[in-house]
Assembly symmetry: C2
Homo-oligomer: 228 residues x 2
């Protein structure tokens, strides 16, 4: 039995949303992912079997539609699913205010880069192709390199050097880059006090903050700190 046995609409909603991963899958769909392997990138720790099961369940409930796009599966939110946006926003707003401590296990360079990639502000980029290189270092000593290759048409994320010279190179602890993306600290604070370094021409370095839109939750107001 998975129901709560209550007529309360909060309970009825939670019967659907309290299953592990479900809300994150919906978040991914709201963020514009539509294909199975695209969704997987947003929930990398979820097994494909479980993702498949959740998608089937959400489809049955009427939150997701599975479309056949010329032999390719495409997942879309139904109107009911799209109306979960305020729920997801409320959850995120609360999390920004009250779940501020990130453990090392919450930091994930691939997930971060995937988010950043989705939010490159193409209008602010120079014409032609722009490459931005990232070097992210983890607490455990790991280090990973990424390249965003932005053209007028699209933005590609690579984990290998694409060959073209980078306009800017961003070197930072993974935690710092994550906090910038979340809006916990500004680009300039990150440079002054959190080990972020920009390498490139002065004009390009200056333009970097405008090239990236931060997380939709970056502007959430944080609670006032308690008086000491």
């Amino acid at each position: 039995m998975h129901g709560y046995g209550q007529f309360c609409p909060v309970a009825k909603t939670m019967e659907v949303l309290d299953e592990r991963w479900t809300v994150l899958v919906i978040r991914e769909l709201l963020s514009g992912s539509h294909h199975f392997n695209e969704l997987r990138r947003g929930v990398p720790r979820m097994s494909p079997a479980l993702l498949s099961k959740r998608l089937r369940n959400l489809t049955r409930i009427g939150i997701v539609m599975r479309l056949d796009e010329g032999g390719r599966a495409r997942y879309e939110l139904t109107p009911a699913g799209r109306e979960l946006a305020p729920v997801v926003m409320a959850l995120g707003d609360w999390g920004m205010r009250w779940m501020t401590e990130l453990g090392d296990e919450d930091l994930d360079p691939h997930l971060l880069m995937w988010d950043i990639r989705r939010n490159v502000n193409r209008d602010a980029l120079p014409d032609g192709r722009t490459v931005v290189a990232f070097e992210l270092s983890e607490a455990r000593g790991g280090r990973s390199n990424w390249w965003l290759v932005a053209t007028a048409d699209e933005v590609d994320l690579c984990d290998f050097d694409p060959g073209h010279p980078a306009a800017v190179r961003i070197v930072a602890p993974l935690r710092t880059m994550t906090r910038v993306w979340r809006g916990d600290i500004s680009w300039s604070a990150a440079q002054k006090a959190h080990g972020l370094r920009l390498e490139g021409s002065t004009s390009a370095r200056r333009a970097v903050p405008s090239w990236f839109n931060l997380s939709v939750f970056a502007t959430v107001e944080r609670p006032a700190l308690a008086a000491p």
Copy 2:
């Protein structure tokens, strides 16, 4: 491992809220329940061991405070906990719009009466003591009787005849009474088409709808029905 391994605030929030029953406990606290057995009445299908565990967990996380009120335990939401109200409201709003089908197992007369009791509109009641009797019949043939005894000071819910004569007697299928409470149907529609009957003086019968505030979600707009 129960975390999602993501820095996303939605994920961080769901790490807390996706545990079974947790949101319903928070809903009860938001509704004004503060003591263990009071909370239990709002989540009757939850075992006391589990409620205890959830309360401890919520306390550890900083959503709930456990106060010692002269030897009696009292649970209060912290500021972070109170700020979950928008989340709970968003969940309920969505549920009213999209989770409209209630199974027989979602109907619970005790839970319903407990909700109704909490929302008696004392200002609208006649002076002195007012007794309202309910007779709720279930699909399975069960039937239960309840009495609300309202005075200036308090409202008591009894499952036995308190002796004083009832100003009004409300006889209805449990499903109908539940739907009225949820705002799915009006008092008058319930009488015309869903088997609800009011017994008592004309003036009292007419006054009944003003005596009860309905669920906070009763006014949520329902989605337009799809064209046939």
